[in-house]
């Protein structure tokens, strides 16, 4: 039985479909990252899950129990907010104690003066204080307990917010972009800490982020959300290597995947004036998009070796170099990620040859869905055969990798 099940969650705000039939299962102890661009509905989904908003349709099961009509306070869900939402008038220790006090003390016992007169209040307060201290120690924030949120840095506040969420044993842990207000260095560090905490506590976690790197690096499974729909839920490796939808491919990966408009016909793919041959190209005649990740675009300093391209921009990143090139034959931009040694001496304006790894080329149909068997296989490098000099549809069936068309450019009609 999964710790959390969402079944067909649908929600609209004033005619705007925010959530469109979202179904998701979170297994016990699983860490799922819900990733998508801003406005895709992921935060709304989290709010619906927490009971802060209500879905128009669909059901939420936590530990097999239907949560419809159960208020947020009774769902035993813990949540870390993007803004941390710490109570600014309370110290860190008081903030962390709130969820415990709310559950273990009656309303009378929580009152400032009268509460201390009620039986058992003192013992419960002491137990809460002990739990708060233990939690703070394990997050290394015990020196901050007497400070108010206004006297803490962003990273410290984030830890206090984590402590407040973790201090009780929730059945689900929700995090709404908890790292997006931290600076870049701290963010990478905090990623590891959250993953560690999750491993130690073992509480199933749904982690919302718009940062695909965060999602890939932290999660057991990644759920990619676009326009209120979950497009794919898979392990980070599958999401990256084998995206089910063109939007997933486009969103995941940095630098972004290369997308080239193409046309499939009779087992070959025509990309502008180029003819690309892939083993598994669809037989039907249809417009397609071919996609290839920058690290599978291989570089040769000889422009006759593969697709001829001109470098437009060189981004040196230390461990790798990003080359922004324009394919001479079709005018499309293509980005290659290469080792610094391969790119040494290259500057903008240089001509190079590019090869695409055929095993890593993905094909998407016009509606964005992945074409079956879209990962091309084959031992030959994928290259441009005769960059359409003649442009005859009869096609020069030259699928051999070599590239003949050094003078393709003048005759090219359009890109």
């Amino acid at each position: 039985m999964s710790a959390l099940s969402l079944r067909g969650i649908t929600k609209a705000f004033g005619g705007n479909q925010i959530l469109d039939g979202v179904s998701l299962d979170v297994g016990a102890g699983e860490f799922i990252a819900l990733v998508g661009p801003s406005g895709c509905g992921k935060s709304t989904l989290l709010r619906v899950l927490a009971g802060l908003d209500h879905a128009d349709r669909g059901e939420i099961l936590i530990g097999g129990q239907d949560m419809s009509g159960v208020p947020a306070a009774d769902r035993n869900i813990a949540m870390v907010f993007q803004s941390y939402a710490l109570y600014p008038h309370l110290t860190a220790s008081e903030n962390i104690a709130v969820p415990l006090a709310m559950r273990r003390l009656s309303r009378i016992q929580r009152l400032p003066f009268i509460g201390s007169l009620t039986p058992g209040q003192r013992a419960t307060r002491a137990a809460i204080a002990r739990d708060v201290r233990d939690m703070a120690t394990s997050l290394k924030i015990d020196h901050l307990l007497d400070r108010k949120p206004g006297q803490m840095s962003g990273g410290q506040r984030q830890r206090v917010a984590l402590a407040r969420a973790m201090v009780r044993q929730p059945s689900i842990f929700l995090m709404d972009e908890p790292l997006s207000n931290l600076d870049a260095n701290l963010r990478v560090h905090a990623r590891g800490e959250i993953v560690d905490l999750h491993r130690r506590a073992g509480v199933p976690t749904l982690y919302v982020t718009h940062d695909q790197a965060e999602a890939l690096s932290m999660a057991d499974r990644v759920a990619v959300m676009m326009g209120g729909k979950l497009l794919q839920i898979s392990s980070p490796e599958v999401i990256y290597d084998d995206p089910a939808h063109i939007e997933v491919a486009r969103f995941i990966g940095q630098p972004r995947i290369n997308l080239l408009p193409a046309f499939a016909e009779g087992g070959v793919i025509l990309c502008g004036g180029l003819r690309l041959t892939l083993e598994n190209a669809p037989d039907r005649k249809m417009p397609v998009t071919i996609a290839i990740r920058p690290e599978f675009v291989f570089l040769s300093k000889n422009r006759h070796d593969g697709l001829a391209a001109r470098i437009e921009r060189v981004e040196f990143l230390g461990c790798e170099v990003i080359l922004h090139c324009r394919l001479e034959a079709i005018g499309e931009t293509i980005v290659a990620k290469v080792q610094p040694s391969e790119a040494s001496g290259l500057v903008a304006g240089d001509s190079v040859g590019l090869r695409l790894s055929p095993g890593r080329t993905l094909i998407f149909a016009e509606d964005g869905s992945r074409l079956p068997g879209g990962v091309a296989t084959g031992d030959a490098w994928l290259g441009a055969a005769d960059a359409g000099l003649a442009n005859s549809d009869a096609g020069l069936a030259a699928s051999d990798a070599g590239l003949a068309s050094s003078d393709a450019q003048p005759e090219r009609a359009h890109g």
Binding site: R47, A50, G51, L52, P71, A72, A73, D74, I77, A78, M79, F81, Q82, S83, A85, L86, Y87, P88, H89, L90, V98, P99, M102, R103, R107, R110, K148, G150, R164
Partner: protein, 307 residues
């Protein structure tokens, strides 16, 4: 040698620059300081000085009488009565109008459709002229033709002579006072409420604050602290300063049952023209306000959280 010269020149320039900046600063501040001195500090000083004299308007000369005016104040039955009445009026109007203002503000905040209508409606008493509205209240509270008593008669209750009997007049005025200031407090609280981040309420709910009372105690009330302190200050000050309704509706009567501080000062200073005595009263009045402000900021400020 050359190096010394080259160091000295920028130093002098910096000093000159700082001086000219200071001069400009003084010039900019001067008008405000002059006005503050002329229209605030000087009149207060004049009142304090006059309080030690037997000055009466119309007489050319006056003499200093020391604390005679203040000694007289202590035994003055009218003054003591008005001091007591003002205290009662403030004790009724300030808390009720604060709580009512908060309640209305929270209701309006949770309302989505007719929010601006209610906001305007409750703010009307603040915007309207109280002297003009006093005639409406006079009609409302009229013992025989007034709608208030007519309504009471419908239920079978005998209506009191609201503004005409010494037993009820202060309470009637208090009702008008609450009506007057609740709207103002509402607007202030509304501003405070909108400044509370929505996520805090979401956090409170997730943290286990089941009822709206829990969320009020955990989030709303502490977050409204600075607003509440300000509203308390304004409400008490305004209640202590009640005058228009008393002057227009009751003239302090019947039988001095609605004598309030400002009205007594007005009577002494502008009707009996005993400016010296009225000044002494004014000093007491100002002292009361100063002490109240001081107490509030001393006691409450420490309990308030400022973000």
């Amino acid at each position: 040698m050359a190096s010394i010269v080259s160091m000295a020149v920028p130093h002098d320039a910096a000093v000159a620059h700082r001086r000219s900046e200071a001069r400009i600063a003084w010039m900019l501040v001067l008008p405000a300081m002059a006005l503050l001195f002329l229209f605030v500090l000087l009149p207060v000083a004049a009142v304090v000085v006059l309080g030690f004299t037997d000055f009466e308007l119309g007489y050319g000369k006056f003499r200093f009488v020391g604390f005679e005016n203040y000694a007289h104040l202590i035994t003055d039955r009218t003054f003591r009565k008005s001091l007591w009445n003002t205290t009662v009026y403030t004790a009724i109007v300030a808390p009720i109008s604060i709580l009512l203002g908060l309640g209305i503000a929270m209701l309006i905040e949770s309302e989505t459709k007719a929010r601006s209508f209610f906001r305007t409606a409750y703010f009307l008493p603040v915007a309207s002229l109280i002297v003009a509205m006093a005639t409406v209240w006079q009609y409302m509270f009229h013992p025989t033709i007034g709608p208030v008593n007519a309504l009471l008669a419908l239920v079978g209750l005998p209506g009191p002579n609201w503004l005409g009997s010494s037993g009820t007049v202060l309470y009637s005025l208090s009702i008008i006072g609450v009506w007057q200031s609740a709207g103002f407090n509402m607007v202030l609280f509304l501003a405070g409420l909108t400044a509370i981040p929505r996520e805090l309420y979401a956090a409170a709910e997730v943290d286990g604050a089941r009822s709206s009372l829990d969320r009020f105690l955990l989030v709303t009330w502490p977050m409204l602290g600075p607003t509440t302190l300000f509203v308390i200050t304004i409400s008490i000050t305004n209640s202590v300063k009640v005058f228009e309704t008393v002057k227009t509706l009751t003239d302090g009567g019947p039988n001095k049952a609605s004598e309030v501080l400002l009205f007594t000062i007005y009577q002494e200073g502008f009707v009996y023209l005993r400016v010296g005595y009225a000044s002494a009263m004014t000093v007491v009045f100002l002292l009361i306000l100063v002490v109240l402000m001081f107490l509030q900021y001393r006691v409450l400020d420490r309990r308030v959280h400022y973000t």
